[in-house]
């Protein structure tokens, strides 16, 4: 039977009992219960019939007794409590072990754990609710009634809990219930009835508020659906996700996100800077003070590429903006603050989305559970394309095989192989770094050449074409070198795919950063000394870079994807269809966004270009993807990659762009004769001038004060930095503490599992070694049976430890009552949900007695340990039959506990036994525990009814403490 039920588990004893399930259900399965329980009966029934077919083994018979015995409990010991309904659907699983605990938890108010309790109720309520549609007709009428009542109760609890919430939270809570729609609807209806009843009782004020909330809810729904209608590219996203999966979708989501940034930036810049200028100054003029305004500027076509000439006289660049105050609208301030606010908002939104992403995807993420993740979490339910599904299957297969072989492979690596790997890594890094430096140097010299050869005075067409050289070279480098880097992957061997991607990312970022820093160096150092209106010149270079970047992106998807597709399918089938490289493509996006950020100061309408670029790019990439590419073979953890991309976008790219813009605004002298900041020492002094003007205006003195004392004071920034550092330090410490706590709790779970399996194994051993006790027990039970229902013995799961425990306790109480030794207190009901804890306590108590030789304590039935009592009771039965001591003469903890217990309890027997030598660590734990509870014990001796049975909620904590102490003492001892 055991083998039937437990298949291939490593420890049959552990699974053999219902205790586990009961324990789980009671303790942890709170939020999520099984609304589809109605699927269960088949299985249970199946099992039951199977059990029956095999026939009852002795344990089963014993079990049957325990079921009956169990039914006594509500009658005497806890008779006030409502009859508990069945947990399982099998006809004879009418009472299960968990329910008494549930009842206990209800009967003993535990203030500390009230929150948990309600959650538990809800959990149970849900389960019961789910049983509701098909209440077992095989139940006796009495039980059916009980079930009904119980269910009503629990539903009521759930309803009350929900009713206490606000309307919005309530709806959210209903939605989040793991139930079927029907059940949700039922609950919703009940709640509505309740609230309508309430509102009838109360004033029309409540009615009014109800209506308002209803109305706002409806408005919310409308807003939601309107938002959905406005959602960009929903269908496209769906089809991409359906064909290529989530990891490729990341790229498009990122693209969309950047597009939103640019739309916002464009709106802000256009609205606050460009429109006022266009409205009040119809002819944006590069400079009124400069006389060399060419009158013959016409649109020649090349400007679209170079961005010079005609564009110079439009609002495209910094130079065309006025420094005047247009009808009370200070252009200088508008320009400065628009850009400043935009950059700050970008930074905030980046930090925010970074933190959210990081929290969701990184903090909790654990790289350790790789296989489990691969098997159970990687399947992309959004993939709907047949080909893609097939491919994914193959990929998963390959990945699983790889991960299996990888572990084997890594152990086999010899030193020389390792050295070889390191050598290759070193070589690749060296090569990639020198390539990046070389590229940067190349860009430097090309720029040098351009500046030297261009003659600003006579601007010819050739000169204009020469300006295209730098953007061409830069874009070419950006296109070719990353492809070259990807080739490295062929030689390099990384232990994980993730490391490989990270290496690739770092190299690419390094390349782009070095190129950008060379360009920025030029823009910041060389260009300002050159022409008259240097900001516009920088703006033009940025325009060219953005444009060329776009062109090369298109070329890249043509050559990189289309051509290699053609080659892969037609010419060299060995190469296969190219994969869509998410990382490289995202980096391209990041790079072009960085250009747009740097350009925001020099060319306020650059975001408009960026919007166009991204819009076209989206469709281009989509088409290229569907026609040329296959989904990446190894899907990395897409969500984590997204976090990394956002992080990269923030640092170094956004931070770099921000510092460039800030440096320009604070340190560089704006050109003399064009732009909003002409004739100022730096852009920021526009604010100084404004504040200076404010001094004369009455009523705005406080602004000046704040400006002088806060904004301009170093101490203020110093303090801010200090505070932030302190907060970071505190949070860091808290995080570390929590990590440690998580680690310990995890260890605790593992230990608990081990303890449990150990105990259950012992218990089963005992059961096996005592095959004859069943008949005996039956006999004894027969005398005090109160319910003589006939149980068909076939259906009960064997060795239900919890039930046994309860039965045993019952029995114990009975006998104690019979012997009436002293005032017998009602056993303190432990609402702790873990029989294991009870068992541990039991052992501890037993040990205590074993060592201290205080047999009399044991007459106290309130030792609150179900399992121990079970043992004891069974022991006693055993004794009464055999009257011999040495049945359990083993040196295991459980046996010792039992012996101690038995010895203590047997009033007729003298204490003949000597304590057995403590032979295992478990005993050490118990001893430590006992010592730790020395105080409790003393108290316990003096006032037996107030036993140290821990309240349920703290049982685990106590256990943890005990373990800790045990560990310490164990360490000290040895």
């Amino acid at each position: 039977m055991t083998s039937y039920r437990n298949g291939g588990f490593f420890n049959p004893a552990y699974h053999d009992t219902e205790t586990l399930e009961i324990d789980r259900r009671a303790s942890s399965k709170t939020h999520h219960t099984n609304p589809y329980d109605n699927e269960d009966p088949t299985w249970w029934g199946d099992r039951a019939s199977n059990d029956a077919a095999i026939g009852r083994v002795p344990q089963g018979g014993w079990q049957e007794e325990s079921w009956r015995g169990r039914e006594n409990i509500p009658m005497d010991a806890i008779s006030i409590r409502p009859r508990s309904p069945p947990r399982h659907h099998g006809p004879n699983h009418s009472i299960s072990g968990m329910d008494p605990e549930y009842n206990h938890s209800r009967s003993i108010p535990l203030p500390s754990s009230s929150g948990n309790m309600t959650m538990r109720w809800r959990g149970i309520a849900m389960r019961r609710m789910s049983m509701f549609p098909d209440a077992d007709h095989t139940q006796t009428a009495f039980t059916e009634d009980a079930i009904w009542n119980e269910m009503q109760n629990e539903q009521q609890n759930l309803l009350e809990e929900l009713a206490a919430l606000s309307t919005r939270d309530r709806i959210k809570a209903i939605r989040d219930l793991p139930m079927s729609f029907k059940e949700k609807k039922h609950i919703r209806k009940e709640l509505e009835l309740q609230s309508s009843r309430k509102s009838r009782q109360f004033t029309c004020l409540a009615d009014c508020s109800e209506k308002v909330s209803l109305f706002s809810r409806k408005c919310g729904y409308h807003v939601k659906s309107a938002k959905q209608t406005l959602e960009l590219w929903q269908g496209a996203m769906k089809s991409i996700g359906g064909k290529f999966g989530t990891s490729v979708l990341t790229y498009f989501v990122f693209l969309k996100w950047l597009l939103m940034f640019n739309i916002f930036s464009f709106l802000v810049n256009f609205g606050f800077v460009t429109i006022p200028l266009l409205v009040y100054k119809h002819t944006p003029n590069i400079s009124q003070n400069v006389n060399n305004v060419p009158q013959n500027v016409t649109f020649r076509g090349l400007e679209i590429l170079t961005g010079v000439g005609y564009f110079n006289y439009t609002v495209m660049y910094y130079g065309s903006y006025s420094n005047e105050t247009l009808v009370g609208y200070n252009m200088q301030l508008a320009y400065f603050f628009t850009i400043a606010v935009y950059m700050v908002l970008c930074g905030i939104s980046l930090i925010f989305s970074m933190s959210v992403n990081f929290k969701n995807n990184y903090v909790l993420a654990d790289s350790a559970s790789n296989s489990a993740w691969q098997l159970l979490c990687t399947w992309d339910f959004s993939v709907t394309n047949e080909k893609a599904v097939k491919q994914r299957r193959n990929n998963l297969c390959v990945q699983l095989k790889e991960s299996l072989s990888e572990t084997a492979q890594q152990e086999r690596l010899t030193v020389s192989e390792k050295l070889k790997h390191y050598g290759i890594h070193f070589g690749c890094w060296l090569l990639s770094t020198s390539l990046a430096f070389g590229c940067a140097a190349g860009v430097y010299f090309v720029y040098e050449y351009e500046i030297e050869t261009t003659n600003i005075a006579n601007w010819s067409l050739l000169d204009e074409a020469k300006t295209l050289l730098v953007p061409f070279v830069v874009s070419l480098i950006n296109l070719v070198i990353p492809l070259f880097y990807s080739l490295f992957n062929k030689f390099e061997h990384y232990s994980t795919h993730r490391k490989q991607i990270y290496a690739l990312l770092i190299r690419n970022v390094f390349l782009k950063m070095s190129i950008l820093s060379v360009l920025c160096y030029y823009w910041m150092k060389k260009v300002p000394d050159k022409g008259s209106c240097w900001e516009s010149t920088v703006g033009q270079s940025l325009y060219r870079l953005v444009l060329f970047d776009f062109l090369f992106l298109m070329l890249g998807s043509f050559f990189g994807e289309f051509l290699s597709n053609v080659i892969g399918t037609k010419l060299i089938p060995r190469m296969g269809v190219p994969e869509f490289d998410v990382a490289r493509n995202v980096l391209e996006l990041i790079y072009s966004q960085t250009l747009a950020w740097i350009g925001i100061y020099f060319s306020p309408l650059l975001p408009a270009m960026q919007i166009l670029k991204f819009l076209i790019l989206f469709y281009l990439k989509k088409v290229s993807l569907t026609h040329n590419c296959q989904p990446p073979r190894r899907s990395g953890r897409a969500a984590q990659m997204q976090t990394i991309f956002i992080f990269l976008l923030f640092f170094p790219f956004f931070v770099g762009a921000l510092s460039i813009v800030a440096y320009t605004a604070w340190s560089l002298t704006p050109s003399e004769d064009c732009g909003p900041f002409r004739r100022l020492s730096n852009s920021f002094s526009a604010v100084d001038v404004w504040i200076g003007n404010l001094k004369n205006v009455t009523g705005s003195q406080w602004v000046v004060e704040i400006y002088n004392n806060v904004i301009r004071s170093e101490i203020f920034y110093f303090l801010i930095t200090l505070i932030i550092l302190v907060i970071i330090y505190i949070l860091w410490q808290v995080t570390n503490g929590r990590k440690e706590l998580i680690r310990r709790l995890r260890q605790q779970i593992v230990n608990e599992g081990k303890d449990k399996s150990f105990l259950l194994e012992r218990l089963q051993d005992l059961q096996k070694s005592l095959p004859n006790k069943n008949t005996k027990q039956k006999k004894q039970k027969g005398s005090m049976k109160q319910h003589s229902d006939d149980h068909s013995s076939g259906d009960q799961s064997n060795s239900n430890a919890m039930v046994q425990a309860l039965l045993a306790r019952q029995e114990l109480e009975e006998e104690e009552r019979r012997y009436s030794i002293g005032g017998v207190p009602v056993p303190s009901e432990m609402s702790n949900s873990s029989p294991l804890m009870q068992a541990m306590l039991a052992r501890q108590l037993a040990d205590q007695e074993n060592e201290d030789q205080y047999p009399m304590h044991d007459e106290n039935p309130s030792s609150s340990s179900a399992l121990a009592q079970a043992m004891a009771a069974r022991n006693r039965v055993e004794d009464e039959e055999n009257n011999q001591y040495d049945v359990f003469n083993r040196s295991s903890a459980v046996t010792q506990a039992m012996q101690a217990r038995r010895r203590a309890e047997d009033t007729d027997d003298d204490m003949g036994d000597l304590p057995h030598p403590v032979s295992n660590v478990m005993m050490q734990v118990m001893q430590a525990r006992q010592q730790a509870q020395e105080d409790d014990r003393i108290q316990w001796m003096t006032a037996p009814p107030q036993n140290p049975g821990p309240s349920g909620s703290s049982a685990l904590i106590q256990a943890m403490l005990a373990r800790q102490e045990a560990q310490n003492e164990y360490d000290d001892g040895y």
Binding site: G7, G8, F9, F10, N11, Y14, R24, K29, H31, H32, N34, Y36, E39, T42, I174, R175, P178, S180, F181, K182, K185, R188, Y221, K224, S225, Q228, K238, T246, L249, N360, N361, A365, A368, S369, S371, A372, W373, L376, C377, T378, D380, F381, S382, T384, V389, R393, N394, L396, L400, K401, L404, R637, A638, A639, Q640, I749, V750, E752, G753, K756
Partner: protein, 187 residues
């Protein structure tokens, strides 16, 4: 096409909106999707709660589910009769849980049910083997299947009981952030 009002009453729509993550528009869209599966079976008037159930064969033929290796399990888990035959309510329920808005815990709960092939509230080895075979189409050898399953249990089983409980599963899901985006069917 009928007016919105003739398909559902306002109360019905409200109930649907309150109990699923969908807006009115999406509910109607899903209704039409549902109806398109069997126009002759599904009436255009749902105001009097007609008792219509589409058989699994039709549900499983939806483009969103057609190629999903777990389509049958999904339909079984979300259908009231446990055999994959779905009412409109079940249908909405299914896509609500699989929608983007559903919280992680709810998704994890149903994903657990989907992977729990024998409905014993635990993902045991046989469930994992079934999952693996569904995912890889029996392409792995028996040995490999066994090794993968052992590894999975070894990694995800916190309490060492040799099988994954809902808690183990949820714990794993929390650490696998991709789950939210992959356990998602766009409508």
């Amino acid at each position: 096409m009928g007016n919105k009002q003739t398909i559902f009453t306002a109360q019905q729509l409200d109930a649907y909106q309150d109990c699923t993550y969908f807006t009115r528009k999406e509910i109607l869209r899903l209704f039409y999707r549902y109806r398109d599966l069997a126009p002759q079976l599904v009436p255009l008037d749902y105001t009097n709660h007609p008792d219509v159930k589409l058989p699994y064969e039709l549900i499983g033929s939806m483009p969103e589910l057609k190629d999903n290796p777990f389509r049958q399990r999904i339909a079984e888990v979300f259908s009231e009769d446990g055999e994959g035959n779905m009412t409109l309510d079940d249908f909405l329920d299914m896509f609500s849980v699989l929608s983007e808005m559903a919280p992680r815990d709810l998704k994890a709960y149903y994903a657990f049910k989907i992977y729990d092939f024998n409905n014993d509230d635990f993902i045991c080895k046989s469930d994992l083997e079934k999952t693996l075979n569904k995912l890889t189409r029996n392409e792995l050898t028996e040995d490999e299947v066994r090794m993968v399953c052992e590894k999975v249990i070894d990694e995800a089983d916190l309490d060492n009981d040799g099988r994954l409980s809902l808690e183990d599963f949820q714990h794993m899901i929390v650490r696998a952030p991709d789950f939210l985006s992959t356990f998602h069917i766009r409508i």
